[in-house]
C-alpha cells in the first residue's frame, strides 16, 4: 500500500515537473499542514511558520526540475523546510540578539491546563520546545509528532542514524526536565 502511494506520488511529481500546476497543488495540499506544524514548533510563532512554509514551497517549486526522485518528495520538502527554518533562525539571531530565552525550565504548574485554548497550549509547548537546541528539537518534532522513523529523519537531516537516535533520546530526557507540570 505504502509502495503504491509512493509510485502515485512519483507520477504527481513528474506531472508537476512538466508544468502541471494542479499536480503541484496536490503535493502542496498534502504536505503544507505538516510543514507548517514543523515550522511552528521550530519558531513558536505563527507568522514565521507561515513565511517558512511559503518559502519552502516556493523554493521547491523553483527547483522542482532538480529533484531527481532519488529520495521521496516528502524527504525532499522536509529537508528544504528544515534548512529554511535554519536560515530563519540565523536571521532572527542576527537581528534580535536579545531574543534568547534564558530560563532553564518551563513551568505549567500555575496553569490550569484544561482551561487553556488549543492555541495557548500550542504556544506554550512550542516555547518549551524552543529550550532545546535546534537539531535536537527537529529530531524530536519529526519523531514524536510526525511519527517519522529514525532512518527517514537521518535522510532529512543528513546525519548518521545513531546520531539521530542520540539526539532524540537527549531531547526527550531534556524536555522532561524542562517541563514542570
Amino acid at each position: 500500500m505504502e509502495k503504491s502511494n509512493h509510485i502515485d506520488e512519483q507520477t504527481i511529481v513528474k506531472k508537476a515537473q512538466e508544468g502541471d500546476k494542479n499536480a503541484f497543488n496536490q503535493l502542496m495540499e498534502k504536505y503544507q499542514q505538516k510543514i507548517y506544524q514543523l515550522a511552528y514548533a521550530m519558531t513558536g510563532n505563527e507568522e514565521d511558520a507561515y513565511d517558512i512554509t511559503q518559502n519552502s514551497f516556493l523554493k521547491a517549486y523553483n527547483a522542482l526540475n532538480s529533484f531527481k526522485m532519488e529520495s521521496s518528495f516528502y524527504t525532499w520538502i522536509y529537508r528544504i523546510a528544515y534548512n529554511t527554518s535554519i536560515n530563519h533562525n540565523r536571521r532572527r539571531k542576527i537581528f534580535s540578539p536579545f531574543s534568547e530565552v534564558t530560563e532553564r525550565t518551563f513551568s505549567f504548574e500555575n496553569e490550569v491546563i484544561d482551561s487553556l485554548t488549543q492555541e495557548q497550549i500550542n504556544k506554550k509547548i512550542a516555547q518549551a520546545l524552543n529550550r532545546l537546541p535546534l537539531k535536537s528539537r527537529t529530531v524530536f518534532i519529526l519523531h514524536f509528532y510526525e511519527n517519522q522513523s529514525f532512518a527517514e529523519i537521518s535522510k532529512i537531516m543528513n546525519r548518521n542514524i545513531n546520531t539521530i537516535k542520540s539526539l532524540y533520546s537527549y531531547s526527550l530526557k531534556k524536555l522532561k526536565k524542562i517541563i514542570r507540570v
Partner: protein, 208 residues
C-alpha cells in the same frame, strides 16, 4: 527489575516495546516511589501530546492563492507591462537614458576607466543560497557532504557560530573539477550570486 532500571525506562517513555511496558507495569504495582515518578512523566508526555496545529480550509486557500501570486510575480513576462501606456512611456524614457549612457561610455576619455563593479549582495544571502543549494540537491557527492557538514557546524546547540569556520577554509578542500561543477550548478540555480563575494571568487579561481 530494580528502580534504576525503571528510571531508564521512564526516560524512554512513551516509546517502550512490549517487554519494557510489561516490566514497567509489574514494577509499578509495588513501588510507590516509581509510581510518583511515572505519574509526573506521564503528565508531561500527555501535555506534549496536546500540541496540535491545524488550520482550516480558508487559511490554506488564502495560502495557496498567495503562493501562486508570488509565482506569477516571479515569472511575469515583460510584454504584459508594455501593454500599459504609463509603462510604455517609462520604457521609452529608460531606453533614452540607456542610449545616452552607452554613447557616454564609448566616448574617449583621458582618465583610466575603472573596472566594472558587480552588484554586491549581503554575504548572508550568499550563504543562504548555498544552504538552499545543498538542501535541494540529492547528490551525495563528497563535495555536497562537505557543505552539509559545514552548514551543520554553523549551528552548535543554540549558539550560531558565525565566524567559527570560514567558508573559505572548507572551500580550500574542494578540488578544481568540483569547484567548476559547483560554480556552474550554482550559476544555473542562483543567478544573483555576488561575483565579488569570496565564495564566488574562490570557486572561479579554482575552476580556472
Amino acid at each position: 527489575m530494580r528502580c534504576s532500571g525503571i528510571s531508564k525506562l521512564l526516560d524512554k517513555y512513551p516509546f517502550l516495546d512490549i517487554q519494557e511496558k510489561t516490566d514497567l507495569e509489574i514494577h509499578l504495582r509495588d513501588c510507590k516511589d516509581c509510581q510518583v515518578k511515572y505519574a509526573q512523566i506521564k503528565r508531561k508526555v500527555d501535555l506534549l501530546n496536546k500540541y496540535q496545529v491545524t488550520k482550516n480550509q480558508d487559511f490554506w486557500s488564502a495560502f495557496n492563492q498567495e503562493f501562486w501570486e508570488k509565482i506569477r510575480e516571479q515569472r511575469a513576462p515583460l510584454h504584459q507591462w508594455r501593454l500599459r501606456p504609463i509603462f510604455q512611456s517609462l520604457t521609452m524614457l529608460l531606453l533614452a537614458g540607456l542610449i545616452i549612457l552607452t554613447i557616454d561610455y564609448f566616448r574617449p576619455s583621458q582618465e583610466p576607466q575603472e573596472s566594472i563593479l558587480y552588484y554586491s549582495y549581503d554575504d548572508s544571502e550568499i550563504e543562504e543560497s548555498f544552504i538552499d543549494y545543498v538542501a535541494m540537491n540529492e547528490d551525495n557527492s563528497p563535495l555536497l557532504m562537505l557543505f552539509r557538514e559545514y552548514l551543520d557546524d554553523l549551528i552548535i546547540g543554540e549558539q550560531i557560530i558565525e565566524e567559527a569556520i570560514p567558508l573559505e577554509t572548507e572551500l580550500y578542500l574542494i578540488g578544481d573539477q568540483d569547484a567548476k561543477i559547483l560554480l556552474n550548478r550554482l550559476k544555473e540555480y542562483e543567478t544573483s550570486i555576488a561575483k565579488d563575494s569570496p565564495i564566488y571568487k574562490y570557486l572561479y579561481s579554482k575552476s580556472g
